[in-house]
Symmetry: C2
Subunit: 347 residues, 2 copies
């Protein structure tokens, strides 16, 4: 079948567990040739590892009970990652914050999956690539406390072997988005305001563009609804100064805690009914549908043989599918669904 | 993005609800031109509607509490279906038994998705098709009672318009497979024996071929494990007499009740622990992964804009994903997983 053919053509080595976090997951050649501390690869790796530390600290502090379990892994030829998962905490039922640095060779069809824009400038042969990213999904227990997702990544294809000195292809991608089961307007406004503030520091066109991109991206086509209430999303970004985009991604990652934690503080202890919980579970079902059917990071990860437990940590602890469930018109559940069908301007 | 482009190219009309079951979902032209009672289309439709009735009757009788809710729908240009769902019964938490008759025009890439074999003999243009099938997933509550899936379908592409009288492409597909969370050898042997008996009436090579095909098909590549303990599966079957294959599909559909119901009778009232239930929920998570990522019927349905609630009724009422869960070696959970990783010959 076509899918398994595509998958078997990807050459990523099997990961192996490590007992300690290495100083860097970069290949030695990268480390030397490009002066580890100054290359974009190296600085991006440092940024995502710092962001992982600060987000995990903030989560543990609010949770009070749960602690992150860490898995470090590497691949023999270079690359690796740090997966941190807090499961069954006091506030979060599942919180995953992963960083990874991946070297691989992908077939052209996987390249197209990773990079949405038509890659007409690419040769048809297998393409060596480097990808580093931080990826996180935080699923709270309380149905009034929203799920957060963020992901920032840097991608490079190797310089063509037959033209030494030719520039690599590189691009940045990422975003932060909010998925509540119930709408509290002040929460959604707060969340979007922080995203806008981060964007506005760099380009006034970023927030409106990336807000719309987010609404368009997290679209569950077969349901004609979005996964949640959006935020920002961008991909294949390379038509700006590389340093500027590195700073922008850093600013976005640093905005996660101020955008999300205040909302959780307000909602984590609200009382709720069984009906509220059941609705949250149905929305989690939609989360699963989006991630397994449409999400480029997930489908790319499954195709390239990435570390499955790290990729699928984005799935909620539990989810529910009821046949033909329709919330009563005008209800709080209906309002959420309506906002997922007709995206709003929150600020 | 490529996926939405592919989807929007498919021209299936939106379904509309009906208050009554029609005598047939075939287009009038089919009905007349081919003498409704004798064409393969018409006889296949009758067969799947009879099977739907008899399976639903058997399920309701064993369940004792739940009743199937029926939704009838049609499409303006012909085709339609009957969805029957029993939710929150005494024995089954979700049982869906659907029949559908679909006329459509698909782009070549969807055609390839529906028919695994390389379609080198096809023109590249859009292809009018007819598809009829019965599809059912039965998820019991008790973690010792297995989930059953079966699906039998008949597919035709229209005769080429420029060569009147030229033969249509047609094929049969289907299968019945068992997905328990715990192994009871006598149950699995019973189930496979009934499948073999149905196969052996037609061709002694069918059972071994279709058993292996089933193990290969329900493979969750990214987990390196199968969804369950298999059964039979076949697709694109057209290199036998068409009448023989119609009889074979009928025999298979008629074997569902004797293969499955005796197992449920034995397991539905067994006592179980919270741990048993949690394991069942984890296996249901795998069920969701298979159906959304790999299942051709589901991905084809999502692509062609089929009736979403009917397509996704296959998903369990609830499912669970724990990070890096590994059953203890030698445990009953481990034995199930082992049999999903290394398919066995049960009879």
């Amino acid at each position: 079948m076509t899918s398994s053919t595509a998958r078997s053509a990807v050459s990523i080595e099997r990961e192996v567990p490590e007992t300690e976090r290495p100083h860097t997951f970069l290949r030695e050649s990268d480390d030397k040739e490009e002066l580890s501390t100054s290359s974009v690869r190296a600085r991006f790796e440092k940024m995502i590892r710092d962001a992982q530390d600060s987000v995990c600290q903030a989560i543990e502090a609010v949770d009070g009970g749960g602690k992150f379990k860490e898995d470090v892994w590497s691949r023999p030829g270079g690359g690796g990652g740090i997966s941190r998962v807090l499961q069954d905490g006091a506030v979060w039922e599942k919180a995953g914050v992963n960083v990874s640095v991946v070297y691989g060779v992908m077939p052209p069809e996987a390249y197209r999956a990773a990079k949405a824009a038509a890659a007409t400038d690419q040769k048809a042969g297998p393409i060596p690539f480097f990808a580093a990213g931080i990826s996180s999904v935080l699923h709270p227990k309380n149905p009034f406390a929203p799920t957060l997702h963020f992901n920032y990544r840097y991608f490079e294809t190797d310089a063509p072997k037959d033209t030494p000195g030719a520039p690599r292809q590189w691009w940045f991608g990422g975003g932060t988005d909010l998925t509540p089961a119930y709408i509290f307007e002040e929460d959604v406004k707060h969340f979007h305001s922080i995203q806008k503030k981060a964007c506005d520091k760099f380009d006034p066109t970023f927030y409106p563009r990336f807000k719309k991109w987010c609404d368009d991206y997290f679209y569950i086509k077969h349901r004609n609804e979005r996964r949640g209430l959006g935020g920002i999303f961008f991909d294949d970004l390379n038509d700006y100064d590389q340093e500027m985009l590195l700073s922008f991604a850093t600013e976005c990652a640093n905005s996660v805690v101020p955008a999300y934690i205040p909302i959780i503080e307000k909602r984590k202890d609200m009382s709720f009914t069984e009906q509220n919980k059941a609705w949250q579970q149905l929305r989690r079902g939609r989360y699963v549908e989006f991630n397994l059917v449409y999400d480029r990071g997930t489908t790319f990860g499954l195709k390239t043989g990435g570390r499955i437990e790290s990729i699928l940590v984005s799935l909620p602890l539990s989810a529910r599918w009821e046949y033909d469930h329709k919330p009563e018109e005008g209800s709080e559940e209906w309002k959420l669904l309506d906002a997922c069908i007709n995206p709003k301007e929150w600020i």
